[in-house]
Symmetry: C2
Subunit: 395 residues, 2 copies
Amino acid sequence: MIQCLKCGEVAHILKAGLIRGKQRYFCKSCNWHFTIPDPDAVDRRRKINRQTTIVDIARELGIASSTVSRALHAHPDINAETRRIILETAARMDYQPNKLAYNLAKSQTNLIGIIVPEFNNQFFPNVIIGAHDAVTQAGYSLMIMQSNESYATEVANARAMLENRVDGILLSLAQETNNYDHLVLFEKRGIPLVLFNRVTEGLTVPHVVVNDFEASFLVVEHLIQNGYERIAHLGGPLNLLVSRERLRGYKAALRKYGMPVEESYIIHGDLTPHKVRIYGQYLLDQEKRPDAIFALNDPMAIELLLIAREKGIRVPQELGIVGFSDDKVSRFIEPGLTTIRQPTVEMGRVAARILLDLVGNPEVEVPAHTVLSTELVVRASSLKGNQEPWGSLTS
Amino acid sequence: MIQCLKCGEVAHILKAGLIRGKQRYFCKSCNWHFTIPDPDAVDRRRKINRQTTIVDIARELGIASSTVSRALHAHPDINAETRRIILETAARMDYQPNKLAYNLAKSQTNLIGIIVPEFNNQFFPNVIIGAHDAVTQAGYSLMIMQSNESYATEVANARAMLENRVDGILLSLAQETNNYDHLVLFEKRGIPLVLFNRVTEGLTVPHVVVNDFEASFLVVEHLIQNGYERIAHLGGPLNLLVSRERLRGYKAALRKYGMPVEESYIIHGDLTPHKVRIYGQYLLDQEKRPDAIFALNDPMAIELLLIAREKGIRVPQELGIVGFSDDKVSRFIEPGLTTIRQPTVEMGRVAARILLDLVGNPEVEVPAHTVLSTELVVRASSLKGNQEPWGSLTS
DNA sequence: TTGTATGCGTTATCAC
DNA sequence: GTGATAACGCATACAA
């Protein structure tokens, strides 16, 4: 005997096909489709290959799923004994909460995204370690993506982050990135964004960087004070603020010591080893060869060192070389590479903390520009004579 | 005039509180709670701070959300013109699909998890690059976690992966891990697991490793053929198969050349630099000091090199040193470190491919043991005299 | 080709 | 303290 769920009628009920395996009915008198609720149907389906849910636990114990939910989250309104039994049953049934459903229901993910240009260098993995630290400490998870220095990939990554509903995002720009529309979207959505290392003024979001200007200034000053006179600079793409800052420091130091800024001694290009080799050749094949090169980063500097070695140019006597970022290799290569040590792990941690503050409260006051300090590490590659390291610096 | 949705009654209707901001009613005659459907309520709420959904688009166009869904996924049964309009509207409204809801509805995440012990070394980042490659190519995402060599963290990571409903998981065991219950859970759940590099026989899941036995054998043979006679081995924790395999190769080579296996020349311990220093000191302070050491990996070997340098022991004349994994530093350090080159990126790619096969079809036949080949890279640190590299090996 | 209804697993809200 | 039910945003089987 089938009764219409809406009007209670029993006369004019028609079978109306199957829906999700359940018989569906149609009540002619009130023009209404319905199915007869079958409390076991859910169970039956769940048996097949599905993970345990709170509904399973509830059914097993003959209680409501909301009670189970409360027990699992130590809600104040729950009987201690009930809770104990539920927890026990949950463990016995190998229950694992479904984060997807949880997040969907809560409309929040506790997810922080981080996009880095590459993994090849030790730099970004270290930043990730720091960010991971801060983020997990705050009860968030970290979703890691790499743009592979490509604008298109960065856009795709940003989109994926959006789709995954991250609560906030950390980003270091890809070398290629010149357009920031994909990032403006985050602002529109109210999702905080913090840039680190590879930043731009094109966006008014908090930045975390090192004192690139000062550090570069110090590097060049150090070279000058060690007797180098024709100092070249091998820099990065000029759309990256970091490249421009280091260039600015380089020029400022030259000016301070009354040395000319020779345009043929300055190259800006991309960061791939292949290109570095081309640029290096160009610099060292010049008629009036530079007697020192300040490179944007250590991998570049190391490549230069190898080129010099091949050409039979003695480092540091005929050519001083300085890098940036204190790669592990720089300590071991012969001669040891003078470089700038950056607080990489710290950078990740600091950037993540600022982001988390913003996630917690979008109105909170955070520093627009955080500048971390660096340290000049003097090794043999920049000591023309056989002088001791200049000043009171670490070696 | 409120009418009961179930029995049509209008007399015995009581207000029964608010639910989610909507008035709720109670029909005394049929004992039934209900709310009056309000098509605009959803819209109103959504206005406040919510991202666009397919429902918004549907409402905007006065069509069904299912139609929007079909348009967005290029379902065959959709009018081209309708689709065009929907896509246009979606773009105009800055629609971003909600992956959480998508995944929940589909009961699948297209997520692959990878857990590695650490990020400090170049090894695991490279594996990740390879895995990332294979995984994204197959339309999956990669969720990266690190156990930090800790068993507890590994268990927590595994749990988080489960909660995030990964479709499959790649894992390299933490140094501490001895118990595999947390991994057995994956099997129970039907979630494929593939181990790489740090594997165990404790689980019958596919392994991807390099030919550790052979490689170690070759290393020791190389040392013997270069005139070293008291060869020590600084290995890793014995619960890791990789440690045992390399030990086996070491012993086999000694046996082949009729050399005694001196137990005091063999140390197994943990991989932290601090411990390595202690072990190194111990080995080199012995009365009958070994004249060569084969270390489990390059960081260990480099540490040994530094210790030797401090003690004034000449490498390779008084002490031959060989590492494993061809760290970037090994090429540049003085003397260059003889080592085994492993296909790291390849390892990640291969492991991911096997996993993806399994994810696609749990019954598919996959190799239980994949062994990738390595290459002995001979540099100065193992050449006692000033011989040329032995055999036809890369330098 | 489009609309309707249901389910995915969870939380939140109210009644009891 | 516990139960019932409506969201959360999407996919999909069927009906129309």
